[in-house]
């Protein structure tokens, strides 16, 4: 029951998100209990834990997506670069904190229009074409898609659609990208491509990824947070957490004794 605070071991790793004493309720049922966490800037933080431990719920508080569900309540403080996100304009927040979902959810529009969507609604000024290309490049989809920009997004394969969703999220140039089990519906080859993507994106974008796949967490993240029953059990550098975990529950989980 110890809630550990994060240990930023890189000297110049600043903190992007600072979460203090976060409690979350679905109606009367509490899903997150007194969570304290610092998410470092320009690093990948993985959230692992068994099903139902609250990691997705927690992730979705970071861009206030839980507000789309009725009867939910957030108690506590979440600071993004020092600003309280609960006091912020939610639309502005979501431009700064993007999200990629478990199943690819491209809009029934063309590839181009999917990427351009966020730009259009946020009143972008400049050359749309350039920005669309830029986002598709960042998502490693440009080469495959450049000749088919005006075809329907559904013409793409599952893995390509997910990369399209990443491009779409990146188009508005978010400071943070939240990924909720983005590879769970994808094959290993595509998963590898996306993990490589994340590696390159790190420098410009802070990422938090919820994953069921411990190997993925071990491969692709810099820091890992382990959650259980709505509480944060342990949070440290990935290499340390997976080799010498402090808490016995963490060890039990990563060695597969439950989960």
């Amino acid at each position: 029951m110890s809630d550990k605070t994060s240990q930023a071991s890189d000297k110049d790793a600043l903190v992007r998100f600072e979460i203090s004493d976060l409690n979350f309720y679905y109606g009367a049922k509490q899903a997150v209990f007194g969570l304290n966490l610092k998410i470092p800037k320009n690093r990948v933080t993985a959230l692992i834990g068994p099903s139902g431990c609250g990691k997705s719920t927690f992730l979705r508080t970071l861009n206030r997506m839980n507000e789309t569900i009725r009867n939910t309540r957030v108690v506590g403080q979440i600071l993004l670069d020092g600003q309280d996100i609960l006091q912020m304009d939610v639309v502005g927040l979501r431009r700064r904190v993007g999200m990629v979902f478990q199943r690819p959810n491209p809009f029934p529009k063309s590839i181009y229009e999917n990427v351009a969507y966020g730009l259009r609604i946020n009143g972008f000024q400049g050359r749309l074409d350039d920005l669309v290309e830029h986002s598709l490049r960042r998502a490693a989809l440009w080469e495959e898609a450049k000749d088919y920009l005006h075809k329907s997004a559904f013409a793409l394969s599952g893995g390509q659609q997910q990369r399209l969703c990443i491009a779409r999220a990146l188009a508005v140039d978010p400071e943070v990208l939240l990924l909720d089990e983005p590879c769970s519906a994808l094959d290993p080859v595509t998963t590898a491509k996306i993990e490589e993507l994340m590696f390159h994106l790190k420098d410009s974008c802070t990422m938090a990824i919820v994953t069921h796949n411990m190997q993925q967490a071990a491969r692709a993240s810099d820091f890992t947070a382990f959650m259980l029953d709505g509480k944060l059990i342990e949070h440290s550098e990935t290499s340390k957490l997976f080799t010498t975990p402090t808490d016995p529950r963490t060890e039990a989980y990563i060695t597969g004794r439950f989960g």
């Binding site: 912020m88 304009d89 939610v90 639309v91 009143g123 000024q125 920005l131 830029h134 390159h200 420098d203």
Partner: protein, 335 residues
């Protein structure tokens, strides 16, 4: 395969309008709120419209209600000249034609629904259902057209004489099948109505029958029942609440049908036992006499008839809904 996402990703700063968090919030708040209120207003408009309808029916029938009171329902005279109006012939006609239509349509419709749900291969069933649904889309006036030029002559020359000849002298039943026979009348209207409502019975019954769990059929068959016995004694009873609901729905439709009926019923405000006698229904008299109603009481009486019709269909549709919902919930089993 090289991804060109490099550290120079954020080189070109992009400008987004917005003017700060507060202005944005303001706009956003307004947008969603406005949309909510706008759509809600239209939705509430439907409530307003419907209550307005009931209100108008009530208010405009005042003269007639005040003058005739409850007697309106029993009075058999419909006399515009002496301003004496009674609803009895029309209620009678409406009920008789609807019952006749159900007597024909329910067995026919149920049989067809059974075929479509139990026997026909899926594709055939879907195609036939589609075609039968098209029947439901045919406008009433076209049924009336066919009624006048096909059913009426047929009734006058062929079907009528056969029925009168064979059933006219049977005790009890006979009085329904006495001449004279002009081709128009309760029976003709009932037949035309039957064709109009049978698609509803088939469509709803078929759906309900399709939801009966396989295990029910299989249990019966495993006990040695024939396919027919399994269907009739197990599957259909399981679905009976929903099927009853479809009957109520069809009845509600039949009560309100106007054009086809008025074209073949003979338009005579009399109560007669014989099905070959001309008659009148509520909807038909309103259709025929509304524009010729001289005098406020006359019009008011017609509107009161409209109110009666509204109430009848309201209650029936309500019951139908309850029954169909009950099937969806409880698997068709009455408690």
């Amino acid at each position: 395969m090289s991804t060109s996402a490099t550290t120079m990703d954020r080189a070109a700063p992009r400008r987004f309008d917005g003017g700060g968090p507060r202005a944005f919030l303001h706009r956003l708040g307004h947008g969603d709120e406005v949309a909510h209120v706008l759509t809600l207003t239209f939705a509430a408009g439907i409530l307003l419209l419907t209550s307005g309808l009931v209100y108008e029916l009530w208010v405009n029938s005042h003269l007639s209600r005040a003058k005739f009171g409850w007697l309106f329902f029993w009075t058999r005279t419909w006399d515009p000249i002496f301003d004496n109006f009674g609803a009895a012939p029309f209620i009678y006609g409406t009920l008789v034609t609807s019952i006749v239509s159900l007597v024909i349509a329910v067995p026919l419709g149920l049989a067809a629904a059974i075929f479509l749900s139990e026997l026909a291969p899926r594709r055939m069933s879907d195609t036939i259902s589609f075609l039968i649904d098209l029947l439901a889309a045919v406008p009433s006036v076209i049924y009336g057209l066919l009624g006048i030029f096909i059913v009426v002559p047929l009734m006058r020359t062929t079907v009528g004489p056969i029925l009168i000849g064979s059933l006219g002298h049977v005790p009890v039943l006979g009085k329904f099948f006495k001449g004279p026979n002009y081709g128009v009348g309760f029976l003709t209207a009932g037949v035309v109505l039957a064709i109009m409502v049978v698609p509803f019975i088939i469509s709803v019954s078929r759906e309900v029958l399709l939801t009966v769990p396989r295990e029910q059929r299989e249990a019966a068959l495993a006990l040695g029942a024939t396919r027919w016995e399994a269907t009739w004694k197990v599957v259909v009873p399981w679905a009976r609440t929903g099927i009853l609901g479809s009957v109520f729905l069809a009845l509600a439709r039949a009560l309100g049908e106007t054009m086809a009926v008025t074209m073949v019923i003979g338009n005579d405000p009399k109560i007669a036992a014989s099905l070959f006698a001309p008659g009148y229904t509520i909807a038909a008299v309103i259709a025929n006499e509304f524009t010729e109603a001289t005098g406020d009481l006359y019009l008011s009486a017609l509107i009161e008839l409209g109110l009666v019709l509204f109430l009848m269909t309201f209650i029936l549709n309500g019951l139908a809904r309850l029954l169909i919902v009950a099937t969806e919930r409880g698997g068709g089993h009455p408690s």
